[in-house]
């Protein structure tokens, strides 16, 4: 692979971000612990009655995963901005769309994938019915990339502002309402033995569009936010 080619650049970005996450692998545990603690709060808040908990299990797991990802999204570009690497990324001869896509992929691999693997535990804590675990996994597999993709675009807009974390929440959560509705709806339906494929198919369609459009929007948003 020739250095400076598109493939080399994409691999370089991906490799670098994965390497950085590995160097700070202790930090990777934080979103997971957060998710566990938040999930554990619900029984404390509404009582340990099994029937009630299992009814809300799907929704709570989904919202908890969303919030955990929200926290980690803010730092997607912030560190790069502060040490000047974002500047270099904007100067790279390759398409910023592709490079942004690689950063988003690295983020999903290091943040969402662990949460995805943790989700059965979270669901078990709230007593999700057995038949719904597979659908929960599938629903998260489709919705977490959507959260990463949308989140990346929005966090690009706030990369150079203060209080960006709160601002990101205000901007991202309303747009995630459809994701929450469809994903949690599908899992809840599966828990009741009802058909669950339709909302997931819709999410899949959204994901297909987002995979193509979000990196492009992310690049544009970075340039707009940094006045480039």
């Amino acid at each position: 692979m020739t250095p400076g080619s598109t493939a080399a650049a994409c691999l370089a970005v991906l490799r670098r971000d994965l390497l950085l996450a590995w160097r700070r692998r202790g930090d990777a545990a934080l979103p997971l612990l957060y998710a566990i603690i938040v999930t554990a709060l619900f029984p404390f808040a509404i009582g340990p009655e099994a029937a009630l908990l299992s009814r809300i299990a799907a929704g709570v797991v989904l919202v908890t995963v969303l919030l955990a990802m929200l926290i980690s999204l803010d730092s997607l570009f912030r560190a790069d901005l502060e040490d000047g690497s974002l500047e270099q990324l904007l100067l790279a001869p390759q398409s910023l769309t592709l490079l942004a896509a690689m950063k988003i992929l690295a983020h999903w691999l290091t943040t969402a994938l662990p949460l995805l693997l943790l989700s059965p535990l979270l669901a078990a804590m709230l007593g999700l019915p057995q038949g719904a675990y597979g659908v929960l996994f599938l629903a998260l597999a489709v919705s977490t990339p959507l959260i990463s993709l949308f989140g990346a675009v929005l966090t690009s807009l706030t990369v150079d502002t203060r209080r960006s974390g709160m601002l990101l929440a205000l901007m991202l959560l309303p747009l995630m309402v459809p994701v929450v509705i469809f994903a949690a709806g599908a899992v809840a339906a599966a828990a009741q033995g009802l058909p669950w494929a339709a909302p997931l198919a819709f999410l899949g369609a959204m994901l297909a569009l987002a995979v193509v459009l979000a990196p492009l929007a992310c690049g544009a948003a970075l340039r707009i936010a940094l006045d480039a």
Binding site: G185, I224, A225
Partner: protein
Amino acid sequence: MNTLTLWFHKLGSPPSFYRFAHVLRPWLLTLALIAGVVALYGGLVLAPPDYQQGDAYRIIFIHVPSAWMSLFIYAVMAVAAFVALVWRMKLAEIVAMECAPIGAAFTFITLATGSLWGKPMWGTWWTWDARLTSELVLLFLYLGVLGLFHAFEDPRRGARAAAFLVLIGIINLPIVHYSVEWWNTLHQGTTVRILGPSKIASSMLWPLLLMTLATKLYFGASLLGRASTALLSLERGKGWVQDLARGDTA
């Protein structure tokens, strides 16, 4: 270049826009006030009580035009945002950003009146009706635009970032609306309809339409006022603003 394009170009220049806004605003405001008062009289006094809801339905004369405005203003904001991003036009940036607080206000009025209506109708201050819930999400979209705009020190950069957010929002708005509708049917079975039967008596229709006109005129007046002020603030270093401040006629 025909006269319309020429006029549009002239309008884009800050001093001309300021003059235009200054002249037009009092007219719009007066007309809005007159239309609003007549519409309210028609709706609150002249129109007969509803067959099912009695006098409580009268809040639709404020609720429905507000709801329509909340969506209309978002559309106007999106058009201005598009122009601002594609052509980097200062005035478009200002117009887009000044639409947001007005739109947010109308959305809030929609939610508040919807809540006030809900109390006598269904005994509860809030129902997770599909439309009200969509309005709530819309309010958050407006607040997000405002929050993002004000997070930047440079108002032009902030306006462009917020304009981008507006466009993202408008693309997702239909998706949000559809998902909320689906969610509503999933969890409640029957849709709760806030607006009564689709056929509405003419004695109730004309105050509603007149109120819609009044709110549109008010929006125009408010937007012109806010945009002029923002323009003055943005251009404060320029000659025409200094002349204006000194009291010379431009």
